[in-house]
C-alpha cells in the first residue's frame, strides 16, 4: 500500500509503531491520520461536541417556545419569523458540532495545537441579534399597548 495512492499523504506514515490500523473506524479522514491521543482527551472532545449540539438544541427549543407563545397568544408574525430563524440556526450549530469535533480530533491525533473555536463568535453574535430582536419586539408591543 503506497501512501500516495489515495487519501492524505500522512496516512499510515505517521501512525504510531505497532499501532493496529483501525480501518473500520469512521471517519477515515480522522482515524487515518496521526495516532490515538490519551482517551480522556478524545472523551473531552466528544463532550465538547455534545455541548455544541445542546447549544443548537437550546436555540431550537427557544424557537419552539416562541412559536407556541405566538400561536397561543396570537402574537404577530414577527415572532414566528424570529422563531424560524432560531430553529434553523440551532440546526446549523448542531452541524457545526460535527465539523469542530472532526477538526479537533484530527489536530489532537497529529499532535498539533487545537484550532480556534470559530463557531464561538458566530454563536455570540447570533444570540445577541436574536435577543435584540425579541427585546425590540417586546418594547414595540409595550409601546403600542
Amino acid at each position: 500500500m503506497t501512501p500516495s495512492a489515495q487519501g492524505p499523504p500522512d496516512d499510515a506514515a505517521t501512525r504510531g509503531p505497532g499501532g493496529p490500523a483501525p480501518t473500520d473506524r469512521r471517519p477515515r479522514s480522522v482515524y487515518g491520520v496521526g495516532e490515538d491521543p490519551d482517551v480522556r482527551f478524545s472523551l473531552a472532545n466528544e463532550r465538547t461536541a455534545l455541548a455544541w449540539v445542546r447549544t443548537g438544541l437550546g436555540l431550537v427549543a427557544g424557537g419552539v417556545a416562541l412559536t407556541s407563545f405566538a400561536s397561543l397568544a396570537r402574537l404577530s408574525g414577527v415572532v414566528d419569523v424570529i422563531a424560524a430563524v432560531a430553529c434553523l440556526a440551532g440546526a446549523g450549530f448542531a452541524g457545526y458540532a460535527l465539523l469542530a469535533w472532526r477538526r479537533n480530533e484530527r489536530a489532537m491525533r497529529r499532535g498539533e495545537p487545537l484550532p480556534p473555536p470559530t463557531g464561538l463568535p458566530v454563536l455570540v453574535a447570533g444570540v445577541l441579534v436574536l435577543a435584540l430582536l425579541v427585546a425590540g419586539y417586546a418594547v414595540t408591543e409595550a409601546w403600542a399597548a
Binding site: 431550537v60 424557537g63 412559536t67 397561543l72 419569523v81 440546526a91 458540532a97
Partner: protein, 104 residues
C-alpha cells in the same frame, strides 16, 4: 495498572451523562413541539414531531451511549454523534416549519 483502569476524573461517566442529557433534550424538544402542533391543529407536524421523539428515545434505550470504552479500547462515537446531530437538525427543520406554518 490494569488495562480498563478506572479514570479518577470519571471521564467516561461525564461523557455518558453528556450523551444522556443531549438525548433527553432532543426528546423533550420533540415532545413539546408535538404538543404545540396539537394545540395549533397541525396533525401532520405533530405526528412528525412525535415520530422524532420515538426515533430519538428508542435507540438510546436499546443501546445507550455509555461514554465508556468498548472492549478494544477504541472510541467509536462518530456514528452516535452524526445521528444525534441529524435528529437535532430534523427538530430544527420541524420547528421552523411549524413557525412558517403558523405565519401563513
Amino acid at each position: 495498572m490494569t488495562a480498563p483502569a478506572r479514570d479518577p476524573g470519571l471521564q467516561p461517566e461525564r461523557t455518558a451523562l453528556a450523551w444522556q442529557r443531549t438525548v433527553l433534550g432532543v426528546v423533550l424538544g420533540a415532545v413539546v413541539l408535538a404538543a404545540v402542533n396539537l394545540r395549533t391543529d397541525q396533525p401532520v407536524l405533530a405526528v412528525l414531531a412525535g415520530l422524532l421523539a420515538v426515533a430519538t428515545i428508542v435507540p438510546a434505550v436499546l443501546r445507550p451511549p455509555t461514554g465508556g470504552l468498548p472492549k478494544d479500547g477504541l472510541l467509536r462515537s462518530w456514528g452516535f454523534l452524526v445521528r444525534v446531530v441529524a435528529l437535532v437538525g430534523a427538530l430544527g427543520l420541524l420547528g421552523a416549519a411549524s413557525a412558517v406554518r403558523s405565519l401563513l
